[in-house]
């Protein structure tokens, strides 16, 4: 059962990274325009930068 002492912190850190990424994406307005993002991905223009050429 000693393995738990390692696995629990590891799982918490991994989850924490996910949570941090979620906060970061909210702050960067990534949930402002879901329909637009769904369309933008179809165009080559945004391949290199989210702002386009």
């Amino acid at each position: 059962m000693n393995i738990l002492a390692v696995l629990i912190p590891v799982s918490l850190i991994l989850g924490g990274i996910g949570l941090f990424a979620f906060f970061w994406s909210i702050k960067n307005n990534q949930f402002e325009d879901p329909k637009g993002n769904a369309e933008r991905i179809l165009s080559d223009r945004f391949d290199d930068s989210p702002d386009g050429d």
Partner: protein
């Protein structure tokens, strides 16, 4: 180079390298004040649209950034702050084929409130993350972990759950505390109590090394309730942003003749005695007197009358009337409290304040639910405490009762249905200002229509075509083709002609004259053509010395009006017509539409009185209207609708707006509203059934954290799925 001479460009390379000519010469924007401009783009819909709009804007020398938001159908542009820059941007987008509209300050306020949405999303994310982790940790406990392992799992759960609850459930605590402070109970009181008590008891049990910890249940409760709150917020935010776009349709501006010629000014800047120019086809911005020009005014938005009024120098005119034929100059008068617009605004306010406060289904449910749950829990606590003398067990059972009664299904029952229903209505062309109006719409038993512009198109159509000779038809059509007057347009629409008429001259306010060969021809007002002015809207055609021939016009029912009335009657609703127009016209329209009860000559105040009388007689009335004279009646009705073509005042006092101006939407919306109400009640019943099964178990002390988790998730999921059925309704 002298050090005091400023260099033309900050970067020396720019001076050395001549402009390649590949790009348009860019302005030096570094010193220019920049501004953000938001434009509504109702027609953007795909990736190609986004590229076309953003590319063409970015190529302008004065634009530094442009971003299309497809969800909200608008574009945000960072542009050099120059006067009239909006008009130039709108013209540019118009050339691309995307009609754009300016958005006003209301939109900036919306950007502010979006912060609230983001905040809620963050709380939802934290609650979801913490719930999943604690659930996973709990699985080992449910699976039978014992001793130190269980204690450790509980401690890790506590470490995740307590901060997460403090952050995520804060809105519930705040609102619940606000209610308690005013000695009231709302839904958030039992929610906060359940969350706090379960977290507190779990922490105590963890410290004592006890069997049960409810951290997962406390988090699941928070998570599901936040989903309900988030749906509710999104529904209102979408409605608000669409409503602010509609408000911007009617830009409040006037053209003032000042010392430096004509200038466009906002209405607030007008002073008494200002001279204003009103072109044909424009609405009068303020009350006043005509000082120059002859024309006809269409008062239908103001009074419901369809007969145009001829006005000349000295005539008193009212804001909101439509100038039909010739340019006018008016002197602004009575800008203060006395304008008709202000009087109507006062009527609307009185009507709104006398409207009964409506208790929504959610509030009714909370009023029964909150005390019942608290009493049950208290009874369990006292009962077990007294019976066994074990107060620790008693607290545990009381907490289990609070958790298992599961307000999460109740918290989701209403917002999930309203979000699904308003999303569906929005897609079919009806805008809800708030979810409550949907509940109210489900209760109506009477529909009251306004006539002009609501039941009718508000545009004149020729009525006596079969009495006019072919020769006169062709002459009239040939003359009418050259005029923008609405009656001329109606003639040109009814007949076609390739006759040659020479020397065509427009006489603003009178008509059109010309020559057919050598015979002088006139098409215009009765007096000008030598005819008697009658009761009906008419233009007259005079060819040479022959007797003038009348072309009579009448407003027409919308093509779907009769069908709509029939469908409403078939749904068991009484239909009435309430108009400000003359009795003859109203009676005809009522008969054509199949409405038996009608009333004519109703002033705005009489319309309000009529609705109040219906309210007092116990009827729940849906009012449908579009004119300025309907605004107060819309506010007085149980629930109200306006077509998007309505005047600003009506749109703002109506609860729902029919975006595509199709009356059949009334029938469809009513059907969706009735279905939504049924779904809400079903959802409450589902939640009640779960409670009936689980509460006795909890009271008897058999509830375990696993049971709580299962009951909560299954009831929330059933309720959500049931709500989504609205979207699939035919």
């Amino acid at each position: 180079m002298n050090a005091e001479t400023p260099s033309p460009a900050a970067c020396p390379a720019c001076v050395a390298l001549p402009d390649s000519g590949k790009h348009a010469p860019r302005l030096d924007l570094s010193d220019m004040p920049m501004r953000r401009v938001e434009l509504a783009l109702p027609t953007v819909h795909c990736a190609a649209c986004i590229s076309a709009v953003e590319r063409s804007l970015a190529n302008r020398p004065d634009v530094t950034g442009a971003r299309v938001n497809l969800t909200l159908k608008r574009v945000s542009i960072t542009v050099a702050d120059m006067p009239d820059i909006e008009d130039s941007l709108i013209a540019e987008l118009g050339r691309l084929g995307y009609p754009a509209r300016p958005l006003d300050g209301a939109v900036l306020a919306k950007a502010e409130s979006d912060k609230a949405g983001r905040d809620m999303l963050a709380r939802l994310g934290v609650a979801g993350f913490a719930m999943m982790n604690v659930m996973l940790l709990s699985i080992s406990v449910w699976a039978g972990a014992e001793g130190y392992t269980r204690v450790m799992m509980h401690w890790v759960s506590a470490a995740i759950a307590l901060p997460a609850i403090a952050f995520s459930a804060f809105p519930f605590f705040k609102s619940g505390w606000g209610a308690l402070r005013h000695a009231r109970l709302n839904m958030d009181v039992p929610i906060s109590l359940a969350i706090l008590l379960s977290a507190g008891v779990s922490l105590f049990e963890t410290m004592e090394g006890g069997d049960h910890a409810y951290f997962d249940a406390a988090l699941a409760l928070t998570f599901f309730l936040l989903i309900g709150r988030f749906l509710d917020y999104k529904t209102r935010a979408t409605a608000r942003s669409a409503a602010s776009e509609l408000a911007a349709l009617e830009v409040q501006k006037a053209r003032r003749i000042g010392e430096n010629g004509e200038e466009t000014v906002p209405l607030d800047a007008l002073r008494e005695g200002d001279i204003l120019a009103v072109a044909a086809g424009e609405r009068l911005p303020v009350d006043g007197a005509v000082i120059w020009g002859d024309s006809e005014l269409d008062p239908s938005m103001l009074t419901g009358e369809t007969l145009p009024q001829a006005v000349g120098q000295g005539a008193v005119v009212r804001a909101g009337m439509l100038n039909i034929s010739g340019p006018l100059r008016i002197r602004a008068e009575g800008l203060g409290e006395e304008t008709l617009l202000k009087q109507i605004t006062r009527l609307v306010e009185t009507a709104e304040s006398s409207r009964n406060r409506y208790t929504s289904l959610a509030e009714k449910a909370a009023a029964i639910y909150a005390p019942a749950v608290h009493l049950l829990s208290l009874a369990a606590f006292i009962g077990w405490g007294v019976a066994t003398g074990d107060w620790r067990l008693a607290v545990n059972i009381a907490a289990a009762v609070l958790i298992i009664t599961c307000p999460c299904a109740l918290g989701l029952a209403v917002p999930a249905v309203l979000a699904a229903a308003s999303g569906r209505l929005f897609a079919q062309g009806v805008l809800l200002k708030d979810g409550i109006s949907l509940e109210k719409l489900a209760e109506i038993d009477t529909v009251v229509f306004d006539k002009t512009g609501t039941l009718t198109t508000g545009k004149p159509a020729l009525t006596n075509a079969d009495q006019i000779s072919d020769e006169n038809r062709t002459i009239a059509a040939a003359m009418a083709q050259h005029s923008a007057h609405p009656l001329s347009k109606a003639i040109a629409l009814a007949f076609s002609s390739d006759l040659e008429i020479s020397d065509i001259l427009e006489h603003p306010g009178f008509g059109t004259s010309g020559k057919l060969g050598d015979t002088p021809v006139r098409l215009g007002r009765a007096g000008w053509c030598g005819a008697e002015a009658g009761e009906q809207t008419a233009v007259w055609l005079k060819v040479g010395d022959t007797a003038p021939v009348g072309f009579f016009f009448a407003d027409q029912l919308r093509p779907e009006a009769a069908e709509t009335v029939r469908a409403l009657q078939a749904a068991g609703l009484a239909v009435q017509l309430l108009s400000g127009d003359v009795p003859g016209t109203v009676e005809n329209m009522a008969r054509e539409a199949g409405i038996e009860q009608w009333r004519a000559h109703a002033t705005p105040a009489e319309k309000v009185d009529a609705l109040m009388a219906l309210n007092e007689a116990g009827h729940k009335v849906l009012m449908v209207g579009d004119g300025l004279n309907d605004a107060a009646a819309l506010a007085a009705a149980h629930v109200s609708m306006s077509p998007a073509s309505a005047v600003d005042a009506s749109r703002s006092s109506a609860d729902m707006i029919i975006i595509n101006n199709d009356l059949r939407q009334i029938v469809k919306s009513h059907r969706v509203a009735v279905a939504s109400k049924r779904r809400i009640i079903e959802n409450f019943s589902i939640a009640a059934i779960y409670n009936l099964i689980s509460v006795p178990l909890a009271l008897a002390g058999f509830a375990t954290p696993l049971m709580a988790a299962l009951a909560m998730s299954t009831s929330s999921i059933t309720v959500s799925l049931n709500s989504m059925r609205i979207g699939r309704m035919k």
